[in-house]
């Protein structure tokens, strides 16, 4: 695995990307805007209509650099990949487990344990920094999540697991307004909504989750798993179900934490968003850039991987988890160990 975690985000409309030597060169109207050595990159994400030479594309595919294109709103369009990595037998094992109700249940349960466990840690950390009058609300949410975690252990089928996940998500998002501090209280949040998001916080969450989902998909494909065949999320055409499974445990510690730190530090304000005629909310260009820079920075931050007993960075976590999942499917591990935030 490479240790280079860098993602080259392209936000310039009409940018051209080509290869010069072993470097990626970005130009706009014949003016050089950026230059990055290929070996420093792990992915290229185009968030604007950009143009890439076939030669560069070939080098990216060969070097295992993921290339993806998104629409302006952060809607995923396409990911370019070479021959599927890994072993076809591993993918077969994945499909067999996906068809095996008992094993699917165990993995789905582990995925939701990871999601609720880390959501609970996120609220625990927020509680520590919260003013006294907010603490009871957060404590109550933590207690509820604890209850759902206990119930999960007893869940007998996938429907119960999904049901608990849904209830827990509502309890979790309900306390989001209590996480806003000072000036940031001008943001309002009335539950999670999407397609399109109808307030700035939801727009940020959607944008962050879309980026994270693509990273998870790339990590899964990188170890040879099929990102579309999931366990908690059932197969649906056009959906990267396994990437969504893998993302669950990372939503709160990666995206939610980043969103609240940006708004609470005043780096993003309600004015940084625009509302469309029908009520959909979008990030303005500057806000998108600020978010991407912060997201890239967050990936370099060191964390302890409790299960593996080693230090790593947030950017590598999806890859390590994808590897662990491959071990589970190959029968080398007794269950899926989600990433656990301390």
């Amino acid at each position: 695995m490479t240790t280079a975690l860098n993602t080259l985000f392209i936000t310039l409309e009409g940018a051209r990307l080509n290869k010069e030597g072993e470097r990626v060169v970005v130009t706009l109207h014949d003016e050089k805007k950026a230059e990055v050595p290929l070996r420093h990159l792990r992915s290229v994400v185009c968030l604007a209509r950009a143009w890439m030479t076939p030669e560069l594309l070939e080098s990216c595919v060969e070097a295992g650099i993921h290339v993806s294109f998104f629409g302006m709103t952060g809607r995923f369009l396409v990911r370019v990949e070479g021959l599927p990595g890994g072993n076809v037998l591993l993918r077969r094992a994945q499909f067999r487990v996906a068809d095996d109700g008992a094993r699917t249940l165990e993995i789905a349960r582990a995925v939701v344990v990871g999601k609720l466990g880390n959501a609970r840690q996120f609220l625990m950390h927020a509680r520590r920094d919260a003013v006294e009058e907010r603490k009871p609300v957060l404590e109550e949410a933590v207690r509820r999540l604890s209850g759902h975690l206990r119930a999960l252990e007893r869940a007998e089928d996938l429907e119960q697991v999904r049901g608990l996940e849904g209830i827990a998500a509502r309890d979790y998002f309900e306390v989001f307004p209590s996480l806003l501090k000072g000036e940031a209280r001008r943001f309002t949040f009335d539950g999670r909504n999407r397609r399109p998001p109808r307030d700035p916080l939801n727009a940020l969450l959607s944008f962050g989750y879309a980026l994270l989902a693509q990273e998870c998909a790339g990590a899964l494909a990188g170890v040879g798993l099929d990102p579309a065949v999931g366990f908690l999320h059932e197969d649906r055409p056009g959906r990267l179900s396994l990437a969504l499974d893998l993302m669950e445990e990372l939503r709160a510690p990666v995206v939610d934490r980043l969103v609240f730190s940006l708004v609470n530090r005043g780096q993003l304000k309600p004015e940084d968003f625009k509302t469309e005629a029908a009520g959909g909310v979008l990030l303005r260009d500057e806000a998108r850039k600020a978010f991407l820079v912060a997201y890239q920075g967050a990936k370099q931050v060191e964390v302890q991987h409790v299960f593996l007993g080693q230090q790593t960075s947030w950017g590598l976590v999806p890859h390590l988890q994808a590897l662990l999942l491959a071990r589970v499917l190959r029968g080398e591990l007794d269950g899926y160990p989600p990433f656990a935030v301390r």
Partner: protein
């Protein structure tokens, strides 16, 4: 029906001698890893000046030579093959494989085996004996002659056979964590601390659902 054919990559042999799991992760599981595969690919195109590699008259040097041995179902590339004029050879030439090692040696035996495998390919392809080759260590600027004696040939053929076995069974052997893991370029993908069953996911999950205290 034809039996399923497996071919062993020349590069797999040194992986195999270093660690069977490493060889299987790369060649069976096809895990992509920057510093093993792509660095090797780049090396092929790099022009290396070899000390002791004099332009003796009549000596030919070929780079990135594609090699194969049908008998052993072995295939790959040699960084560099010298063709020395030799009156005792039926063709008038004697191939002399040279393996360039840029990094510090991990295992000398592994390098010799890989070189010997190249010799076996060259013998079959040219129909002449290849008794000798050389290892060139970039870091130490040292060229070292290697004789392909009976012991080394047996070791090499055994390694090829073992690699065929892993490929045919699509097996990824579980290997306990060892000191050599520290030097292994695949450590971050192999996760040796997990493989040998030293960690249990069920314990980890149980800890994640434990109640918390304020």
């Amino acid at each position: 029906m034809e039996p399923r054919e497996t071919w062993v990559a020349l590069s797999a042999l040194q992986h195999l001698l270093f660690c069977e799991r490493q060889a299987a992760l790369i060649h069976v599981e096809r895990l992509w890893v920057e510093d093993v595969n792509t660095a090797q690919g780049r090396l092929l195109h790099e022009r290396v000046d070899l000390p002791g590699h004099d332009a003796r008259p009549g000596r030919r040097v070929e780079r990135a030579v594609r090699l194969g041995c049908q008998r052993l179902r072995l295939t790959g590339r040699a960084d560099l093959v010298e063709y020395h004029p030799d009156g005792t050879s039926p063709t008038g030439w004697r191939p002399f494989p040279v393996e360039v090692k840029r990094a510090r040696r991990k295992s000398e035996e592994a390098d010799r085996v890989q070189l010997c495998a190249q010799a076996l390919c060259l013998e079959e392809m040219h129909g002449v004996d290849v008794p000798e080759g050389a290892l060139f260590h970039g870091a130490e600027h040292r060229r070292q002659a290697v004789r392909f004696d009976a012991r080394l040939r047996t070791l090499t053929e055994d390694a090829v056979a073992r690699m065929h076995e892993l490929l045919a069974r699509c097996q990824v052997p579980a290997v306990p964590r060892a000191p050599k893991c520290e030097k292994c370029s695949l450590e971050s993908m192999c996760l040796p601390q997990v493989t040998a069953g030293q960690r249990r996911a069920s314990d980890h999950l149980r800890r994640m659902v434990e109640p918390v205290e304020f």
